[in-house]
Assembly symmetry: C2
Homo-oligomer: 222 residues x 2
């Protein structure tokens, strides 16, 4: 088993996070690295989806994963099993990452040669939505067991999302989950938001999601 | 349908939240009102569990519910259907409640004649754990679909919990969820933490949970 590298993040020194995030994005554009910020509730299936995504994309793209967590390294350990590069970021109790914290991770990671870096943010539908990490796109995952009313209750998360993944569709028969209502509520927050229902265990919907992401990376590298 | 009262909370003015929480608890002790602070991830089933709990306890206890949310009033509307008193608190984007925000809710609500007030905190496993609300006990709900590794990833939430409810046990066959491992991890954070597996839909485990809560309220009112 590979050793897991853990980076303890420091509090940011920049007062204007939005300007700092723009600087980070410009730097990523120059080195042709696409940064995807992945956000969801705890237990929505971010890591399982990522493992499936990586196995499908790693022949075409050089991929690295930064797993942010308050504590523990269980997610980075899971990603390393796929053969992808991964590090664990510890937020020291903080409920989100901002652009400077993301930069600390990228710098320690060494991402110049990577096409795609995925930042798995802290599991939380509130705080991570408030801070631009410098990512090119924000992906939000909502799992079927959480219910279709979440865009009503966590509006900002769905406003800042560039793509919404609905995970664990295989358990749809056991929950009162209405995909049409979710789509309606999500589009109230963000008209036209692309929505991909998937099941990482069975692979359902993963082809379409991978195709979307690959196009995004290629557009960024042009 | 009853009209839903919505209270817009203001930012707290007290620098020392812990001291303020102790003051609020002393006040609640005097008026013999038990305040339960209910915390979980988004979509763990707090409201569904509450509806079931209220229907079982409302003959014995006078119960009121304060539903905290960033936006929306879907939860207060659901509770009002049970016949219990309920108000909706809006946090104005904030990811948690502290003691003064809780007091604002209690004051507007008028709780002197209530035996049990349940505060449904913002759905979030990070921030609410950091602020003492003045509650007598903290209840944390973890749903089966979220996975048994959550005490490893959100340590503080399980440290501050006085009781852990494992919800949605009816879907256990469809998820890789190990109750023994959850118990082991939860007790690493909080030795001896009482754990109640329940299914609010079928009623499984609800009797034991209600008995626990009733004893807590009676002890408080002595």
């Amino acid at each position: 088993m590979k050793e897991i590298r853990i980076i303890e993040l420091k509090e940011s020194i920049f007062a204007d996070n939005n300007a700092d995030a723009d600087r980070l994005r410009a730097q990523l554009k120059e080195q042709k690295t696409f940064l995807l910020n992945l956000m969801s509730s705890p237990g929505a299936g971010k890591t399982t989806m990522l493992k499936n995504l990586i196995s499908r994309l790693q022949n075409d793209l050089k991929i690295g994963v930064m797993e942010a967590d308050i504590d523990s390294d269980v997610d980075a350990a899971a990603i390393l099993e796929t053969g992808a590069r991964a590090i664990q970021l510890h937020t020291g109790g903080m409920c989100h990452l901002d652009a400077d914290m993301t930069r600390q991770g990228l710098t320690e990671f060494g991402t110049d040669d990577l096409d795609l870096v995925i930042l798995e943010n802290v599991g939380n539908l509130v705080c991570p939505a408030e801070f631009d990490t410098g990512a090119v796109k924000n992906m939000v995952i909502l799992s079927v067991p959480e219910g279709h009313d979440k865009p009503l209750k966590y509006p900002l998360m769905f406003e800042v999302a560039d793509v919404l993944v609905v995970s664990k569709t295989d358990v749809m028969p056991y929950f009162d989950f209405d995909l049409d209502k979710l789509t309606e509520y999500a589009h109230m927050r963000h008209p036209g938001l692309p929505i991909f229902p998937i099941c990482a265990r069975t692979g359902e919907g993963m082809d379409a999601l991978c195709a979307w992401l690959k196009t995004q990376v290629e557009d960024w590298q042009k």
